[in-house]
């Protein structure tokens, strides 16, 4: 057996709970109404280009970017703009949404996808500029969770020499299997997508990092790339947060991204497998990013699965499709249990970054109350960034953040390892995020 690579410092081993690992990606129908959030990315807010009553076609622009770090939003279906208003999104933030009434509600989404024309493009003829432009137009953002516009990540300044491209298939979060299923079912498309990205950096070597708990994905991709010299499959140890960008680079290439730095500072670009698939779709089907694979799981879901959903589908559609008993649901998480955000409304829509919808009947672990910190040091031991979480949170609580601690607080990747092991049930991640807010307010 090959030596499994991993990052050295910190990390935890939460139960995998990949309940839906063997469930094929299914297709739903077009839901009754779609609520399409205007801003689904990190960066500058968008400008809405439609108004109430407008008729839109699938793939039409709904809101356009207003700068470089910004990403377009398109309509996933044919329909009519009903209303533009503010609504709680998954994660509790209240933001502007565009409500679209589809012309053909109930139509199988598989048919919609199949009616998209296929273009047999010649990758060799694409220039890097054309590739970046297409990715920007298609509104592709990092689909692993953060939602950073992909074209920005793919446009490092010329002084940063990129000598490695890492494809993130780690999927270290418990429960989530969306990337896993995509790797198993759409492996050849992913390889084609990688070929497009490879064109951007003078055919750099590509590493696909996959955790060992996905043997089928490892096997399929390994067979596909065996005849291909410059794509390497890297089996990784199943350890959380293996999928964190900095941890993944450390594991695969043993390079350490400097504090406050970006992967490009060590000559690396990291892309998620789902993002690569979106790139493939953008070129071969001319599809903007308007749908994504979502894992539906949790302890009140009888048949956990993976479903391809158009962006804007309300959670209530998923509840019906998977026959979830809402009376039992007490906790709804968008994303994984470690980094996902809770949500309080079943009408909140799926966005480009929603990798999973998890339904639980109650939270078995944490209590409402925070207990005093024991200084046990568990949080330091598991922190993949080596941060003195216990000390920083006390500074933040007292609103007296030491100047030398500020950089470290901003280095927190919010992976949640510290709070996961904290015996005193302290909301360490929330404190760290509050610390970041305080620092941002001061500046």
């Amino acid at each position: 057996m090959l030596q499994l690579r991993t990052f050295k410092r910190g990390g935890i081993y939460p139960p995998h709970e990949k309940l839906s690992a063997d469930a094929k990606i299914i297709f739903g129908e077009i839901p009754g109404n779609l609520l399409i959030p205007v801003n689904q990315h990190i960066g500058r807010p968008l400008k809405i280009t439609v108004k109430k009553g407008d008729a839109v076609k699938r793939g039409d622009l709904l809101a356009e970017s207003t700068g470089f770090i910004s990403s377009n939003v398109h309509s996933p279906v044919d329909g009519k703009v009903l209303k533009i208003f503010r609504f709680p999104l998954l994660g509790g933030l209240i933001r502007e949404v565009i409500q679209i009434q589809p012309t053909e509600p109930g139509k199988s989404f598989k048919e919609v996808l199949e009616s998209d024309p296929y273009f047999d493009i010649d990758i060799g003829s694409l220039t890097p500029e054309a590739i970046r432009k297409r990715i920007e137009e298609a509104g592709i953002v990092g689909m692993g969770g953060a939602g950073f516009p992909t074209h920005v990540k793919l446009s490092p300044p010329p002084e940063k020499k990129i000598d490695a491209l890492i494809i993130n298939g780690a999927e270290c979060e418990p429960y989530i299997t969306a990337d896993h299923r995509v790797m198993v079912e759409r492996s050849s498309e992913i390889i084609k997508g990688i070929k497009i990205l490879q064109r951007l950096f003078e055919n750099v070597p590509v590493y696909i990092g996959i955790e060992e708990n996905k043997p089928d994905a490892l096997k399929i991709l390994d067979e596909l790339v065996s005849k291909d010299g410059d794509i390497l499959i890297v089996p990784l140890k199943a350890k959380y947060p293996q999928g964190g960008e900095k941890q993944l680079i450390k594991a695969v290439l043993n390079r350490e991204v400097p504090s406050k730095g970006l992967p490009m500072d060590v000559g690396v670009v990291v892309q998620n497998v789902a993002t690569v698939l979106a790139v493939y779709d953008a070129f071969y089907y001319n599809r903007p990013l308007t749908e994504r694979v979502v894992t539906v799981s949790g302890n009140v879901v009888n048949q956990p699965g993976n479903i391809l959903l158009p962006v804007g589908t309300p959670v209530s559609y998923v509840v019906k499709k998977f026959e979830i008993d809402v009376q039992k649901v007490r906790l709804l998480i968008a994303g994984g249990p470690m980094m996902g955000r809770t949500s309080h409304s079943f009408e909140s829509p799926v966005t480009k970054t929603t990798s999973a919808l998890l339904f639980f009947d109650n939270r078995v672990f944490a209590e409402r109350r925070e207990n005093p910190c024991l200084r046990c040091g568990s949080c330091l031991r598991v922190c993949p960034m080596g941060l003195d979480v216990a000390l920083y949170t006390q500074m933040i609580k007292a609103d007296k953040i030491a100047p030398e601690a500020k950089d470290h607080i901003q280095d927190c990747i919010e992976c949640g390892s510290c709070a996961f092991v904290c015996p005193a049930d302290r909301r360490l991640v929330q404190w760290m995020r509050l610390g970041k807010t305080i620092i941002r307010r001061e500046n």
Partner: protein, 270 residues
């Protein structure tokens, strides 16, 4: 007998050397400080609340004396104290009416129902990271008391999920305004008794759904006002306290009780 004299003399010698050292040091390192700084500081309230923007009353006094200014005036000190400070520095000060912090929300548990059970840290800024609003109304007071902790005068307390302000104790320092992540607090002159206790800028129907007392932007108050002192913008009424005469016509006209007349009885003097 003689033995006791020697240590005595040695000690006295030490004392003399140290004392002269201290004397020299105090002369050599003497820093002139305007005595009026102390006097001004005497006159200030001494709460060190930071409402003026300086790091405490001493810092304010230093600025006032060294730069010969009473601008901005201490928001806490009463008019007499400020005039005394101004007289000391040969300055004129404009007498302003006392300002009090006012919460533009009445989203109590009864009026705007909770839509979630919040488990996180009891701090408004921390809660904003998890959810923009804990209640049906997106604009409502979170009721976790970041402003209460910012108040140096014990003038605020949490009640039924919103903050109530004791206008007797409130000094108008304005520290709570910065502590509110939703900008629900504002300063009004204490004589202005009419308050629109709502910040919801959603359309009428949506606002009404979110809260029982929401301002729905119906314009009835604007029409009822003879002083042209109340205006509706973005489906939300606001009062111009320069013009308002506390007549109460708008309070009577409001269909949702979103406008409130502050009488003595609503003051909390807990």
């Amino acid at each position: 007998m003689f033995e006791i004299v020697i240590p005595g003399l040695i000690l006295a010698g030490f004392a003399l050397i140290s004392a002269s050292g201290l004397f020299v040091a105090s002369k050599k390192f003497y820093v002139y400080e305007d005595p009026r700084i102390d006097e001004v500081e005497e006159l200030l309230p001494g709460a060190n609340c930071g409402g003026c923007g300086f790091a405490g009353c001493r810092a304010y006094a230093e600025n006032a004396v060294n730069n010969k200014t009473v601008d901005p005036p201490c928001p806490v000190a009463d008019a007499e104290a400020m005039q005394a400070v101004a007289r000391l520095l040969d300055l004129e000060v404009e007498v302003k009416e006392k300002q009090v912090a006012t919460l533009l929300c009445k989203g109590t548990h009864e009026n705007s129902r909770s839509v979630m059970e919040y488990y996180g840290i009891d701090d408004c800024w921390a809660a904003m990271l998890v959810a923009n609003s804990l209640k049906a109304c997106a604009f409502s007071c979170l009721g976790l008391g970041s402003c209460v902790r910012a108040c140096s005068f014990d003038a605020m307390l949490l009640k039924d999920g919103i903050v109530v302000i004791d206008e007797e104790k409130c000094t108008g320092c304005g520290m709570c305004l910065q502590a509110c992540p939703k900008n629900l607090l504002f300063m009004r002159p204490v004589s202005g008794q009419v308050i629109v206790t709502c910040s919801n800028t959603d359309r009428g129907a949506d606002a009404r759904k979110a809260c029982k007392i929401a301002c729905i932007g119906c314009m009835k108050c604007e029409k009822s006002c003879h002083q042209n002192a109340i205006h509706v913008n973005d489906f939300l009424a606001s009062i111009d306290y320069e013009k308002c005469t506390n007549c109460g016509d708008c309070v009577a006209a409001c269909p949702t009780n979103a406008i409130e007349m502050r009488g003595q009885e609503v003051y909390v003097t807990a």
